[in-house]
């Protein structure tokens, strides 16, 4: 059933449909949860929002409803129960879109309490309701999110209390978490909102995985909270800019298709939030094709820039790395992903090997990467990964580029970079690089499962399964 309302939403429907489907594929909603909202570009008194109970993963045109800012209208009857919250979020200057979703990790980290502090930093009480901050401990989250206000609500679904507090939080932050319910995010576009949602969930997944592996993440979080991202991660992260997407500086359709497909695979497999990470292929001795995201949902644009491999002072860390890789190695393709589980596992292995100070006060613990035999590695325990690569290189985030390049040379093009993600490199195709980043998450997942089973149920320790071969 659609009717005239469907026609009214025709110009915004495809983007909402694709965004909703993207969230479904990354398990950000159950069948009927969440909502998407977008200001109308031409009618500033109107925004479009998904209807109550509509399936965000399979939106039909009539699921998109126009709602007025200035007054109640028929759309309020069909719109999501949380439309009043979105109405206020979208009234924040510069905000054009907002999304609420139910990403599992983003919700899971809110199950924390004042006295526990495993995942959240307690900030105080507001009128008897506790306020916390979720502080991402990974480089991408620390730079792009900084801290995410996380509120406890008496009525955590569609309430007046949420309508008051959530827009206030979002006036100063790109995201906020509702305890036990999920994130609300805002942005200048739906694409940016999807990007922020991915960041929040990936950082939450990383934090949770690292904490469950025994990493003192609260200590890292406290330092980040008080000293800022640069104190721990000196390399800034390139901010998301949807405007740079849709540019393809190659006429080879197969190349464009290959990058787009890889981006979709990475997105769906959850190795990387949309708009983060990077991919490249060296195409001549002096040039590479560079994609400034390693992940994008189906239907979303990416970008392919033709760039010199010579360094430029404006290059961010990832671009600098891609260029260095092509100047100083034989690799021909590279993907860098945020890979939350792999990144968390890297933190855990480094903490086990060098002590927690190596993470909390990295400046006080020097890690030697130069020894070809005795350097940090992550040991896969699953047969497929062991068959591919029985040792994966491991670096801390502050490792010199040369050290990461060594890891790629020594470990078939794979390196976990603690707090950053996974670097995968290939000497023939992008697929080779993709294989490394793809298997990184499963390597970490299996190790985490064994660790927890060992702790909770007396199962064999990790060492029982780790390969002894090189």
């Amino acid at each position: 059933m659609s009717g005239r309302a469907a026609a009214a939403a025709a110009h915004v429907y495809p983007l909402l449909r694709d965004t909703g489907r993207a969230i479904m594929f990354t398990r950000g909603n159950n069948t009927h949860s969440g909502n998407l909202a977008l200001r109308d570009a031409s009618d500033r008194d109107t925004f479009h929002i998904t209807a109550s109970g509509s399936q965000l993963g399979a939106l039909v045109p009539s699921d998109v409803v126009p709602v007025r800012f200035s007054r109640v209208s028929w759309g309020d009857a069909r719109a999501s129960t949380e439309s009043t919250i979105h109405r206020k979020i979208l009234s924040i200057p510069g905000v054009e879109a907002s999304i609420h979703a139910h990403y599992l990790s983003a919700i899971s980290v809110t199950f924390d309490a004042k006295g526990a502090g495993n995942f959240l930093v307690y900030e105080g009480d507001e009128s008897g309701t506790e306020e916390y901050s979720f502080v991402p401990v990974d480089r991408t989250g620390a730079w792009l999110l900084s801290r995410v206000p996380s509120g406890t609500y008496r009525e955590p679904v569609g309430s007046k209390e949420m309508e008051t507090r959530i827009p206030r939080y979002l006036a100063g932050s790109r995201a906020t978490l509702v305890k036990g319910h999920g994130p609300f995010v805002r942005g200048a576009s739906l694409q940016e909102c999807l990007h922020v949602l991915g960041l929040v969930d990936a950082s939450a997944a990383l934090l949770q995985a690292a904490r469950l592996r025994g990493v003192d993440t609260p200590a890292i979080a406290r330092r980040l909270r008080h000293e800022g991202a640069a104190a721990v991660y000196p390399m800034p992260v390139r901010p998301f800019d949807v405007g740079e997407f849709g540019v393809y500086e190659t006429r080879d359709e197969t190349t464009i298709r290959a990058f787009r497909e890889r981006a979709v695979f990475n997105f769906v497999q959850g190795v990387c939030p949309y708009g983060t990470g990077s991919m490249s292929e060296k195409i001549t001795e002096r040039e590479m094709l560079y994609c400034p995201t390693a992940a994008a949902p189906e239907g979303f644009e990416v970008a392919i820039r033709r760039l010199s491999i010579e360094p430029d002072e404006t290059d961010d860390w990832e671009l600098m790395f891609h260029k260095a890789l092509y100047r100083d190695s034989n690799h021909k393709a590279c993907i860098i992903t945020q890979s939350p589980l792999a990144s968390a596992e890297a933190l855990a292995v480094l903490a086990e090997r060098h002590g927690m100070d190596a993470l909390v006060r990295p400046e006080s613990v020097v890690i030697d990467y130069a020894d070809r035999v005795d350097h940090p590695v992550v040991k896969p325990i699953d047969a497929e990964a062991v068959y591919l690569n029985p040792r994966v290189g491991l670096c801390r985030w502050d490792a010199p580029v040369a050290a990461i390049l060594d890891m790629l040379r020594w470990h078939k093009g794979a390196c976990f970079v603690a707090g950053v993600g996974v670097v995968g490199a290939g000497k023939i195709t992008l697929e080779q690089a993709a294989h490394h980043v793809s298997s990184g998450e499963s390597i970490a997942r299996f190790r985490q499962t064994v660790h927890l089973t060992h702790l909770l149920s007396g199962g064999p320790p990790l060492s029982h399964f780790e390969p002894t071969t090189q």
Binding site: A5, S52, W74, T84
Partner: protein, 692 residues
């Protein structure tokens, strides 16, 4: 079962208007457990009353004329009435309907029901006919038969005002206006001024008893099982949770949060229904409206109309507050008239349905319906039928007109001439022609209908079926079982169509399940809008839900936010029972089956569970293409619906279903069979055992 549920008052009040006597009877605990209250209890008491007439009629259900003294008027309350349960103001009326000839069953809010219950009674059974116009006054200690006030008895406002002056402002008044007093078959019973027991012609039953008003003044508190749990501030209690859900439900949340019903009243649903191609137009010819026109009569327009001022009001214990008290002003700002509404159905039936997109005449017509006691749905449906028949007759050369068409044109001529005279001779009589889009005709038509003035007024007062037959075009009546269907086009929403077809009282969007707006408000993508498979079961489940609301005495609108399980929890805190939602559904099935038996005994058959032929034959354009109700599929859906309730393919309840529901004690099967003259069907053959 011997203990009465708490929340009940334990007493029924029976009043014989002919003898001017009254007596109290104990509430039968078995009935209270089996039917709880409201529509359930009312149906059971109605059946029991008719069974009591068997010494005078072989089949009293069939024989008793709805307007005769033997037809009782039964008003029932529910255990939740008068407690802190949100929206627990709804009470019920049952009678044999003068409109359908089957069960009359209608529901109202406001405060009358609660006030009556606080006189210490669960139900009022009115029998007989008073020799003179009479006012019935009931308080906790007495029942009095008083003379009518010396005011215009045709005017609900005047009667209410007069009786409030006589008995004090705290009393609650129920009355009928001109329509009920003239036995209009679409007359409503009005309570609390603008609230209506609207459907099925209860106003005519009331008027036929020479009853002017029932005034109630309560003082008896309602005892509940768990008063603490019912405190709205008790965060662990059932009522707190319901309020919390109502506060966040998008239709019910406060106006400052853009809740539709609190912000705009029910008229706020109009735009949405039109956007989704459901809103009727020109007597169900199509659902095509120009959006700008709809904006002139919807809830948004009502809220901002320069000539109409609006105040929000609420029924007892209702945090939603969808009621609109309005005043209509002239250009100078002076108040022309005032009253409640208009509501969604009123705006739809008297506006969009008639191709009238002007709130002022619609509001004025609505005031008249309230003032003179007309059901606005039936009023709009009947005027819609008139306008269609008029257009057919007008487009036919005079020499080719049928007898009915000639009668219509003659009646119209008298009507329009009278209108022109009333207007001081200004303008020609044609300006008042009952044609689609002619807003000038609307108010005079409603007045003529209410007072049954002239041939046209009398025809209007008796509803669309009788009107269309009288004027030679029975196909123009958009009614089921004689009762006009509401403003959702059945071709676009087949589950709602099933409710129209199968509801015992006739074309109704509530009692058989209010599914039409659910597809949009609750937003199920797979909702069977125009899909037959499974639609019958969806309709059945909605019928269970809405029947449960009627039994509990709560408002269907709350059901947009509060689930049946949550209402069951509140009802348990009232009654001390341990009911689950599924138990309420069982009660609903019992009520639906007893209503069915009542209608069968009144001579109904499956043929009455059928939409007007238009819906099977005339496709209308919507976004997806042309839609129509495929007759074969609808027959199959109807059969599925019957089967799901334990009825046979003819819609007759099977003996095992009757026994399972415990209905033998209310309406013994042998008695039913004797009155029907046929045996009730036995258990259905097991599906697996069936062979061709």
């Amino acid at each position: 079962m011997s203990q009465l549920p708490l929340g009940t008052m334990g007493r029924l009040l029976e009043v014989d208007l002919a003898a001017r006597t009254s007596r109290t009877l104990p509430l039968d605990a078995g009935l209270a457990h089996a039917f709880l209250g409201g529509r359930g209890l009312g149906t059971a008491l109605l059946v029991r009353h008719f069974l009591g007439l068997r010494d005078r009629y072989p089949n009293p259900f069939l024989a008793v004329d709805p307007l005769a003294a033997d037809n009782p008027l039964i008003l029932t309350t529910s255990p939740a009435n008068g407690t802190p349960v949100p929206t627990s103001a709804r009470f019920h009326a049952n009678f044999k309907s003068p409109l359908s000839g089957g069960i009359g069953s209608t529901n109202s809010g406001g405060r009358w029901g609660v006030e009556f219950k606080r006189t210490g009674h669960d139900a009022l059974i009115l029998t007989g006919r008073s020799a003179d116009p009479v006012v019935l006054f009931i308080d906790a200690g007495s029942v009095r038969f008083d003379p009518p006030p010396k005011v215009d008895l045709d005017d609900v406002e005047a009667v209410t005002e007069g009786l409030e002056k006589r008995y004090g402002r705290g009393v609650r008044v129920m009355t009928v206006g001109a329509a009920g007093r003239r036995l209009a078959r679409i007359a409503a019973i009005m309570n609390d001024r603008g609230r209506a027991l609207g459907r099925g012609g209860g106003g005519a039953v009331f008027g036929a008893k020479n009853l002017v008003a029932i005034v109630v003044a309560g003082s008896v508190p309602v005892e509940t099982a768990e008063p603490e749990a019912l405190q709205p501030r008790n965060m662990a209690g059932s009522v707190y949770k319901a309020h919390a859900k109502l506060r966040v439900g998008k239709l019910t949340k406060p106006p400052e949060q853009f809740g539709i019903l609190p912000s705009m009243g029910t008229a706020g649903l109009l735009g949405m229904l039109s956007q989704y191609d459901e809103l009727i137009h020109c007597n169900f010819r199509d659902t095509a409206h120009v959006p700008e026109r709809i904006e002139r009569i919807g809830g948004e327009a009502l809220a901002e109309h320069p000539a109409i001022s609006v105040r929000r009001r609420a029924c007892f214990q209702c945090p939603i507050g969808c009621t609109r008290e309005t005043e209509l002003h002239d250009a100078g700002g002076a108040v022309i008239d005032k009253g409640e509404g208009p509501e969604f159905e009123t705006v739809a039936m008297l506006g969009a349905n008639l191709d009238i997109y002007d709130l002022e005449p619609v509001t004025e017509a609505n005031y008249l319906c309230n003032r003179f006691g007309l059901d606005t749905i039936s009023a709009g449906g009947t005027i819609g039928a008139l306008m269609e028949v008029y257009e057919l007759a007008r487009s036919t050369p005079p020499e080719s007109r049928s007898d009915g068409e000639r009668a219509l044109m003659a009646d119209v001529e008298v009507f329009t001439a009278a209108c022109a005279r009333a207007a001081g001779g200004a303008g020609d009589a044609g300006a008042f022609a009952p044609a689609f889009g002619n807003a000038r005709a609307l108010v005079p038509l409603v007045r003529a209908m209410a007072f049954a003035e002239g041939g046209l007024g009398r025809a209007l007062a008796d509803g669309s079926v009788r009107l269309a037959e009288r004027y030679g075009h029975p196909e123009s009546a958009m009614a089921v079982k004689g009762m006009e269907i509401p403003a959702y086009d059945p071709r676009v929403t087949w589950t709602q169509a099933m409710a129209y077809m199968t509801t015992a009282r006739g074309g109704c969007h509530l009692q058989g399940g209010y599914s039409a707006p659910i597809a949009f408000c609750a937003g199920y993508g797979e909702f069977p809008g125009i899909k037959s498979e499974g639609a019958a079961l969806v309709a059945r489940n909605f019928a269970y839900q809405n029947t449960a609301y009627d039994v509990m005495g709560v408002c269907a609108f709350a059901g947009f936010s509060v689930t049946l399980d949550e209402y069951a929890n509140m009802l348990n805190d009232v009654t001390g029972l341990g009911l689950k939602a599924s138990d309420l559904e069982s009660v609903s099935r019992r009520v639906l089956t007893l209503e069915r038996l009542f209608n069968l005994l009144c001579g109904f058959s499956a043929d009455r569970d059928w939409l007007p032929e238009r819906f099977y034959r005339e496709a209308i354009p919507v976004e997806e293409g042309m839609v129509v109700c495929p007759a074969d599929e609808f027959r199959a859906m109807r059969a599925e619906y019957y089967e799901s309730l334990g009825w046979d393919e003819g819609g007759v309840p099977r003996t095992d279903a009757i026994a399972e529901l415990g209905l033998e004690g209310v309406l013994p099967a042998p008695e039913t069979e004797r009155m029907l003259g046929v045996a009730l069907p036995g258990p259905a053959a097991a599906r697996l055992g069936r062979t061709a």
